[in-house]
């Protein structure tokens, strides 16, 4: 280390500190470089809203996949957000801290289960159940929503827990002193104060749901068509990339990278919003 000297190390560390930012830029540059030309050629509007995806005949419209991604993400939010937020409220406000310290890591283990395993469970357990009780093939928006909802639960829950715990205890004491019950305190005082953090948790969950790939490929059925019911099979944007990337060449491959561009932009927007909301939570109101 003496070789570098104090100043040398400082410069080196400053350089290293930019590695994440540099990586992000590199990703953006290469994805855009591959994907942007075809978007410019077809026109963004055509690429997003044309309903035909037929790579063999040079038709690249991602509208069916776009709708599918929106449906599945929306469904995942309906399943995952209420459960995640409910769990967060329960663990912070209604059980002793010692219980929370046991249950929170257990739920965070959910986040560690590989997404392919979630997809597999969906295929082996959930899809047959839905096929029997609701009809259809079982590989559907509904199944995908339930599986994705479960997968984003830990994200929603752990960020919600942080933001609920960040609410100063004096807020609660004030409410108790006015004779409110714990639940009244929670929904009238605590949740209002923690609102921006909870919204951020939902948005980050949304980002994860849109970006999830392997589980969706296994459970959503992958039919390229605009769905008419939640029991229809769909192919999301991410699934389309992963399914066709293996053999795509030329324009086709560019179109897949262009799909990546759309995903990248959507996720950057979602992350930025969540980021601002989380920062807003941190700075306390005087």
């Amino acid at each position: 280390m003496r070789f570098f000297g104090e100043k040398g190390v400082q410069h080196l560390l400053r350089l290293v500190a930019f590695s994440a930012l540099f990586g992000l830029l590199l990703i953006a540059i290469f994805i855009f470089q591959e994907g942007l030309p075809i978007i410019l050629k077809l026109g963004l509007k055509h690429f997003l809203f044309a309903v035909h995806w037929e790579p063999q005949s040079g038709q690249f419209g991602i509208f069916p996949m776009l709708i599918a991604s929106l449906w599945v993400t929306f469904g995942a939010m309906i399943v995952g957000a209420p459960l995640g937020i409910a769990g967060a409220i329960f663990l912070v406000e209604f059980v002793p801290r010692s219980v929370m310290r046991i249950i929170k890591p257990i739920i965070e283990l959910l986040a560690g289960i590989p997404s392919v395993v979630f997809g597999f469970i969906g295929v082996m357990v959930l899809a047959p159940f839905i096929r029997e009780h609701f009809g259809g093939s079982g590989l559907s928006i509904l199944s995908a929503s339930i599986i994705l909802g479960t997968m984003i639960l830990p994200t929603v829950m752990s960020i919600s827990i942080d933001s609920i715990m960040a609410v100063p205890y004096s807020y609660r004491e004030g409410s108790f002193a006015l004779g409110a019950t714990r639940w009244q305190t929670v929904h009238m005082v605590v949740l209002k104060a923690a609102r921006s953090g909870i919204i951020a948790s939902i948005i980050l969950g949304m980002g994860r749901a849109i970006g999830e790939t392997m589980a969706v490929i296994m459970i959503a059925g992958n039919a390229v068509k605009i769905p008419h019911s939640v029991l229809d099979s769909v192919r999301t944007l991410t699934a389309n990339i992963a399914l066709e990337m293996g053999y795509a060449t030329g324009m086709h491959r560019q179109a897949l990278f262009a799909t990546g561009v759309i995903l990248f932009v959507v996720i950057m927007i979602l992350n930025s919003i969540a980021n601002v909301l989380i920062k807003a939570k941190v700075s306390p109101k005087k």
Partner: protein
């Protein structure tokens, strides 16, 4: 009609408690289901044999090796960058526009979905830099993917080192570099290792970013420039192409056990740090 506060309180507790209970049950169900179906398949021969007939018969030995080598490569690349970033952010600079930009970049990188990492790794490492489908392409891609986790956990661990420690070191005439090396990093080490293990867990479970960078070759890799198939990719192919449900369950059981074991030891370590501190 107004619901009495005591009733609404009881109702809320019941609903919230049920939601939490359901979540925990789902987790236990997933793990129990996979282990119950998969463990009977996992015999020593399953772990140590080469796959035959695309994985229909035989074991998963090469995929286990790939799942060990790939995270190690990713960690070797990501740790110096991640810990270096954390040291810079905590010890060498104060909060400024610059640190805000670095943090923003880190947060954004953390939100990028793995399929985008896969696309990037394919076009950059595999194609542009001509590394081909190989362990090194996969390792570099995964390193980028886990970098935010490493930065965040290392930064937290370093910040948790009491400033008194640093002051004592400085008062003895130590330089900043010496303080970082002899005082800050050793005390932050358990926290940094926790982050490392969480990173390894993510690498082992990852599929989308690996399948397009490390490839799907079932041969035993001999150098890091060989293509290799990890357990999660193998499991995905077995399950999706319907090659062998039995072996898919077996692979899933090994996969889930290794991820759980690594994550549990990470949490154990975190718990140990917290109890030591208080």
């Amino acid at each position: 009609m107004r619901i009495p506060p005591r009733w609404s309180q009881a109702g809320a507790v019941a609903i919230l408690g049920t939601a939490t209970f359901v979540t925990v049950m789902v987790l236990i169900f997933i793990i129990a289901f996979i282990l119950q179906k998969g463990l009977p398949v996992v015999r020593p021969s399953f772990l140590l044999d080469f796959p035959k007939d695309m994985g229909k018969e035989g074991g998963i030995f090469p995929t286990i090796i790939a799942s060990i080598v790939l995270p190690i490569l990713a960690i070797l690349i990501a740790m110096p960058l991640g810990v270096g970033t954390a040291v810079y952010l905590t010890e060498y600079t104060r909060e400024s526009r610059l640190t805000q930009i670095i943090r923003f970049g880190t947060d954004c990188l953390a939100g990028i979905p793995s399929i985008i990492f896969g696309l990037f790794g394919f076009i950059f490492f595999v194609t542009t830099l001509k590394m081909g489908w190989s362990l090194i392409s996969g390792g570099l891609t995964l390193a980028l993917m886990i970098l935010p986790t490493i930065i965040r956990t290392s930064e937290e661990a370093i910040r948790a080192v009491p400033s008194v420690y640093r002051e004592v070191s400085y008062s003895l005439g130590a330089t900043r570099l010496r303080t970082v090396r002899k005082v800050v990093l050793p005390n932050a080490l358990p926290g940094i290792v926790t982050g490392m293990m969480l990173g390894i867990g993510r690498c082992i479970g990852e599929t989308a970013a690996v399948i397009f960078t490390a490839g799907v070759s079932l041969r035993l890799p001999t150098t890091i420039f060989d293509s290799a198939r990890t357990m999660s990719v193998h499991f995905y192919i077995l399950a999706r192409e319907g090659i062998s449900t039995e072996n898919a369950y077996g692979t899933a059981a090994v996969l889930i056990l290794s991820v759980l074991l690594i994550n549990l030891s990470a949490y154990g370590m975190m718990h140990w740090i917290m109890s030591k501190r208080s």
